[in-house]
């Protein structure tokens, strides 16, 4: 009897903690959504999600251009001008590199592998300044094609993804590749026809993470995009907040919300891939 009661209480506590903490976690996001429909007078007058006097003025103003050059829609388009190439180039270059490291032996491989792994711990903070100097000499700053943001991904520069794919490849048996080799497939055909289909879940995870991270990236565009007409959403959101503090929070929050809608959609469509990717790629715990 008491044991049963104790168990019941423990279960109750577990759910209570999960629900309360979860509520605190999610509430700001829900509030943000509701605030975009509130009038500016109402936003900070209470904490409820209920909208007394629904208005679309926040959204209407959000689409107004800022300084004549840019509005949230062009900012979003600008964002995807580099996010999409980044994602595509990253998965291609990371897959090729991971394949090279995981399936071949060559002179200096273990040394190069160690070098690659050590770059996982190389903080970006020491690289920003010289990279900026280098891009500036190459005339890449404020490039129309976002070169400093995109080009490095052609070279598997985000080691994390290479590492994640290698971890995955290690768990894939080599028999199929050996069979393909006997059947006369060359290494490139093996990569395209055997490795890529088997690695697909891992590649999808890489693509998703790169998508999110590139969307969220603030430092890159802050350093390398100077012309207002080319600003991506990250910079645009920051500017609209700086320009508006204290006045039009429904507009600022509407702009912010619009900027994360694609990420939210992708997240809900592909939740499980995220979870699998993060637990498989990190470490084999």
């Amino acid at each position: 009897m008491t044991l049963g009661k104790k168990k019941y209480l423990a279960t109750f506590l577990k759910y209570a903690v999960l629900i309360i903490v979860g509520f605190i976690m999610v509430y700001p996001l829900l509030w943000m959504i509701s605030a975009t429909f509130k009038t500016n007078n109402e936003i900070f007058s209470g904490i409820s999600l209920w909208v007394n006097d629904p208005t679309f003025s926040g959204y209407k103003n959000a689409f107004k251009s800022y300084g004549g050059d840019i509005n949230i829609m062009t900012a979003m388009i600008n964002t995807y001008k580099y996010v999409i190439p980044k994602v595509v180039f990253t998965i291609i270059s990371a897959t090729v590199t991971a394949y090279g490291f995981a399936r071949f032996n060559f002179k200096g491989k273990s040394f190069l592998f160690a070098v690659m792994m050590s770059t996982l711990f190389l903080p970006q903070v020491v690289l920003n300044i010289p990279q900026y100097m280098m891009y500036s000499k190459m005339g890449w700053i404020d490039s129309k094609w976002y070169l400093p943001i995109i080009v490095p991904t052609l070279f598997a520069i985000d080691t994390y993804f290479v590492f994640m794919l290698i971890q995955f490849l290690r768990n894939i048996p080599k028999e199929l590749e050996e069979a393909a080799e006997i059947d006369g497939c060359n290494v490139v055909q093996t990569l395209v026809k055997i490795i890529v289909p088997m690695l697909k879940p891992a590649i999808v995870s890489c693509a998703l993470f790169q998508f999110m991270w590139s969307n969220n990236d603030f430092m890159g565009p802050l350093l390398y995009v100077k012309t207002p007409a080319r600003y991506p959403a990250a910079i645009f959101v920051k500017l609209s907040m700086d320009g508006d503090v204290g006045f039009q929070w429904n507009r600022v929050l509407a702009i912010s919300l619009i900027s994360i809608i694609p990420s939210l959609i992708i997240f809900f469509l592909a939740q499980n891939s995220f979870v699998e990717g993060i637990s498989a790629g990190s470490v084999k715990g």
């Binding site: 690289l127 300044i129 929050l253």
Partner: protein
């Protein structure tokens, strides 16, 4: 003796053939990693080296170098402003990382019981870490914690006077920390995967021996997942030392420099004042600090991280 020699001769032929094929394959492997190697030299090694060189000069973005020496490093240790930024960075990292990991482990531990709707909870906890790095969330944070923001409105309902969360140096850093702590979801997912891997029979054995839940947690769960705790610790620490977005967007280093992390100072001196040399020196000191902590973590592994014999899985 002679038999093995004969056998050796016999296999020699096919081996030679295979070696030729192997050579091709070896080069193929190198060709596959070549793009990465080029990228590594171009975007990492070369900048890494040149940043060290800049740090010993007064390199200016436009004016170039006029003198060389240790002056940048000297300035760092003489400037109270810079030393303060280091202190603030340490405070930030050592507040954020433990809180985040404890929250992540705690929630993961609860979720690991047979919880109904585990996926729903996991989603709720995970969303902040997916979106949290974005500028949009930093904006939201400001709306929550500004002087007449949501939190103070809530406190007002209970008749508590608003607290100037972001404009009082006492609280501002903590609010910036909280933004990262709130994003404990990804660490939690990693913990959850690890917890699932702890063999159930260990718990059964322990409960037969009369160990309570707490005892089981500290004597079985924690030791079994130390590799993952270690991984999370290193990655989070490395990230926390470099935090930029939160303080830059929400407080811009203020009030009274209480949230000026070193990365902000580096940014300001490099990209506002264009003093690339001085900023590089700061970046290098920061780099060395991060390295020291990474190395300490790695060296300390043998005292507290438990790797099972089977290939560390």
């Amino acid at each position: 003796m002679s038999a093995s020699a004969v056998a050796g001769k016999d296999i020699k032929q096919p081996i030679k053939k295979r070696t030729f094929k192997k050579v091709c394959k070896d080069n193929a492997g190198f060709l596959f990693i070549l793009p990465w190697l080029i990228g590594f030299i171009w975007f990492k090694l070369y900048p890494f080296g040149s940043s060290l060189i800049y740090s010993f000069s007064d390199q200016h973005l436009f004016n170039g170098v006029t003198k060389w020496g240790l002056m940048n490093y000297q300035d760092i240790f003489e400037s109270t402003k810079i030393m303060r930024a280091f202190t603030v960075t340490f405070k930030y990292a050592f507040l954020t990382v433990p809180l985040k990991l404890v929250a992540a482990l705690f929630i993961a531990y609860i979720l690991n019981f047979k919880i109904k709707g585990v996926n729903l909870f996991r989603t709720a906890y995970y969303i902040p870490s997916i979106l949290g790095g974005s500028v949009a969330i930093a904006v939201l944070w400001k709306a929550l914690f500004k002087d007449d923001g949501l939190l103070n409105t809530l406190l007002g309902i209970f008749g508590i006077n608003g607290i100037p969360w972001l404009s009082d140096p006492k609280y501002a850093l903590f609010i910036i920390c909280l933004l990262r702590v709130w994003q404990f979801g990804s660490a939690m997912v990693i913990f959850l995967a690890a917890l699932k891997g702890v063999p159930q029979d260990l718990y059964e054995a322990a409960s037969i021996d009369g160990a309570g839940k707490w005892r089981q947690f500290f004597s079985i769960t924690v030791p079994m997942i130390t590799p993952v705790i270690f991984y999370n610790l290193v990655t989070q620490l490395c990230q926390a030392f470099q935090e930029f977005n939160g303080p830059y967007i929400i407080t811009n280093g203020g009030p009274r420099n209480s949230t000026t992390l070193i990365s902000l100072l580096i940014y300001n001196s490099a990209f506002r004042a264009h003093e690339m040399g001085a900023a590089s020196a700061m970046a290098w000191v920061m780099f060395i600090v991060i390295m020291i902590f990474t190395v300490i973590s790695f060296l300390s592994q043998k005292y507290w991280v438990y790797y099972s014999d089977e290939d560390g899985r």
